[in-house]
């Protein structure tokens, strides 16, 4: 199946009544929950993962993808209207978006963000289709050593990029890897850290740990802060249509942002956050006197980058089976729950999943574009639900989500314990998303390591035996050495823009906690 045929097949899967409805419902639920201050996209998708398990694998993943896009848009709405973003990308979108709102152009800013998201999704889809086939063939050449080296290099890069400092990032990664090592060793059948307890012998399930670290920790933080929020502005339907000149300003910025977003999304690291910052900086360089004061391109570009990066994140997940972002890690957990292991063979063994998800994410974005204009009043009304009620609903959903996975109490206790651990880590600026990635990728890393040593009869040279390995090691070396060289030549830190927001948005998780 070539990419065009694949995409056509994907649309035929996504447009079945069941899947189409799932995309619409997911987009609406995502927006409704995402607009709530403090509810970050990562938190929402972790929370709603379990209820989708009862659906078929394709429908379940389609609804999760749509929920994610919807939540991203909902978070952007809160950033634009009230300047209360939950994750770093929305901080950037809200910089000029909220300035526009203060000038009475909130509706236009929302429309520009929706169009930017759609352009981002379109370019992301094109990129995904173009790259997936090529990389899929290349990925078949990956053996255990290449998988080990790629996973290790990716994790180290993400640890360094965590925004809270290299040591803390790597510590979080090490803790995640250690948690993933608990339980039955799949190769020898030996139980590690079981202490004779049957619950521990099976190891920690991904979902309860993720629910605790991402969902419960964020809820505890929100509850502890309980900031009084500004009232949402009133918005009439007729106020949301931009003029022709505003469209013309938004379009090129969206295209630029989408290309940046897709390319950075493919790479390991906080691609969504980085791409929105890079896009914003680019727009500021192009219009230094306008950006910061409510410029349309500074809303359209970052929003397009935000959505395109999601398609970029799907490339390593689908093609190599390696999730290099928190959201794709949660999607990965969802796939495992459905009995599907993503990787090079997914396009041949489960084309309905790969192409169906790609097409459905696009349809979900179209649905957002069509539905969000008339429903803007409804979304604003959601903000009137009292916070205590929302807290009760969300905690209950978390507990049910943990329990219903295996119908045991151990998973609920796991969520509670990791929620408290995550809360403490958040306060000391230790990035828990890296912990989640270590947890998800740990078994793959160990499998690659041990299988490689089996193949080489114990020789470590196997990790330097192919050109793929060597290129990856060089990338890591360059990544480690470059900041020192830059610091030496310019006397300036080689830090990333995300470091500037590591302290967080003040609601939900710290802003840099997006990977």
């Amino acid at each position: 199946m070539n990419p065009i045929e694949g995409l056509a097949y994907g649309f035929s899967v996504a447009l079945t009544p069941e899947n189409f409805l799932a995309a619409l419902v997911g987009a609406l639920i995502g927006t409704a929950v995402g607009i709530l201050p403090g509810m970050s996209p990562t938190m929402v998708i972790a929370l709603l993962l379990v209820p989708t398990i009862k659906l078929s694998p394709t429908t379940g993943l389609i609804i999760l993808g749509a929920i994610y896009y919807g939540t991203q848009y909902g978070d952007s709405m809160t950033a634009i209207l009230m300047n209360v973003p939950s994750e770093a990308p929305s901080i950037v979108i809200g910089l000029d978006g909220h300035e526009m709102a203060k000038k009475g152009k909130a509706g236009v800013a929302l429309a520009i963000a929706a169009i930017g998201a759609w352009i981002g999704a379109t370019i992301g889809l094109i990129g995904l289709v173009a790259l997936a086939g090529v990389l899929g063939d290349a990925a078949l050449k990956f053996g255990p050593p290449e998988y080990f080296v790629l996973t290790a290099v990716g994790l180290v890069i993400m640890g360094k990029l965590s925004g809270a400092g290299t040591w803390k990032g790597l510590l979080s990664l090490a803790v995640g890897l250690a948690v993933s090592s608990v339980g039955l060793d799949p190769i020898s059948g030996f139980t590690r850290f079981g202490f004779g307890r049957p619950e521990l012998s099976g190891g920690f399930d991904l979902v309860p740990v993720i629910l605790g670290l991402v969902g419960l920790a964020g809820m505890l933080r929100l509850s502890g802060e309980a900031k009084s929020l500004p009232a949402p502005p009133k918005l009439a339907f007729r106020e949301i249509f931009p003029t022709w000149s505003e469209w013309r300003e938004a379009f090129p910025a969206s295209v630029r942002g989408a290309i940046i977003g897709f390319l950075l999304g493919i790479m390991p690291g906080p691609g969504t956050t980085m791409s929105t910052f890079v896009s914003y900086r680019l727009e500021r360089r192009l219009r230094p006197n306008e950006v910061g004061l409510g410029a349309i391109p500074a809303v359209a570009g970052p929003k397009a980058a935000d959505d395109a990066s999601v398609s970029g994140h799907l490339v390593p997940l689908m093609v190599l089976g390696l999730p290099f972002s928190t959201v794709t890690a949660i999607l990965f957990a969802g796939m495992l729950l459905h009995g599907i292991t993503p990787g090079p063979t997914i396009m041949t063994q489960h084309p309905e999943i790969f192409w169906g998800l790609a097409a459905a994410m696009y349809i979900g974005n179209m649905a957002l574009l069509v539905l969000n204009f008339p429903l803007v009043g409804l979304w604003l009304n959601i903000l009137k639900i009292p916070q205590p009620i929302l807290s009760a609903i969300l905690i209950l959903l978390m507990m049910i989500g943990s329990y219903s996975l295996n119908n045991n109490f151990f998973d609920v206790i796991t969520t509670l314990v990791f929620g408290v651990v995550g809360y403490v880590f958040l306060h000391f600026r230790i990035d828990t998303t890296i912990l989640v990635l270590g947890l998800v990728l740990g078994p793959l890393l160990e499998k690659g390591f041990r299988q490689s040593l089996f193949l080489s009869r114990g020789s470590l040279t196997i990790f330097f035996s192919s050109w793929i390995d060597n290129v990856l090691w060089l990338v890591l070396l360059a990544f480690i050495v470059t900041p020192f060289i830059l610091r030496g030549t310019s006397g300036r830190s080689g830090g990333l823009p995300v470091e500037g927001v590591a302290g967080g948005s003040g609601l939900g998780q710290p802003a840099a906690n997006e990977a």
Binding site: P51, K54, G165, T166, W167, K168, L170, L171, L173, A174, V175, L177, A178, S181, D185, I187, S188, F190, R192, F193, L216, M219, L220, S223, G224, E225, A226, P386, Q387, P388, I389, S391, A392, I395, L396, L397, M398, M399, I400, Y403, S404, N407, F409, V412, I413, L416, V420, Y423, V424, H427, F428, I430, E446, F449, R450, L453, F454, R457, G458, S459
Partner: protein, 159 residues
């Protein structure tokens, strides 16, 4: 807001705690079968991981210590007393659900948990809190027990 412990001081303490945990992890891992280099057992990877925890935890602690030495500590915005009470309320609600689910079933356990959380979060009106808790419990009962058919303890209406 209370500002104890501050960021760098807390980082040092956290680093020390995780160093100890890492050392314990390594000591446990040395009891696992190690195999040979050609056929590594489950102990090899675990020992490497334990060492990674120790090294990164020591690095984190030293980094915190150096930052502390180099200048003033950074305040961590811990919640005030009422914030801690709200957090305790959330956890108490979750614990209520956990403890009651096996005894009285999902519907009543979720009602009790919601009531605890809503009140602990500072929602003033008892009648409204009861109504919201009842509505939330009923909605989750319909979705999770009736529609998604999750086998909770006691699938009947009252447990």
């Amino acid at each position: 807001m209370y500002y104890f412990p501050a960021l760098h001081r807390g980082t040092v303490v956290l680093g020390v705690i995780l160093t100890l945990i890492g050392a314990w992890y390594v000591s446990q891992a040395t009891t696992f079968p190690r195999g040979t280099m050609a056929q590594p057992g489950p102990g090899v990877y675990s020992i490497l991981l334990g060492c990674l925890i120790v090294v990164t935890a020591v690095g984190t602690s030293v980094e915190g210590g150096l930052a502390l030495k180099g200048g003033r500590d950074v305040e961590v915005q811990w919640p005030a007393v009422d914030g801690w009470l709200r957090i305790a309320g959330l956890l108490a609600g979750a614990a209520t659900y956990l403890l009651l689910l096996g005894q009285i079933g999902h519907l009543l356990a979720s009602f009790a948990a919601c009531l605890v959380i809503i009140r602990a979060q500072g929602y003033a009106s008892w009648p409204k809190a009861v109504l919201w808790a009842a509505g939330t419990a009923a909605a989750t009962y319909l979705v999770f027990v009736k529609v998604l058919a999750i086998p909770f303890f006691g699938n009947s209406l009252l447990g």
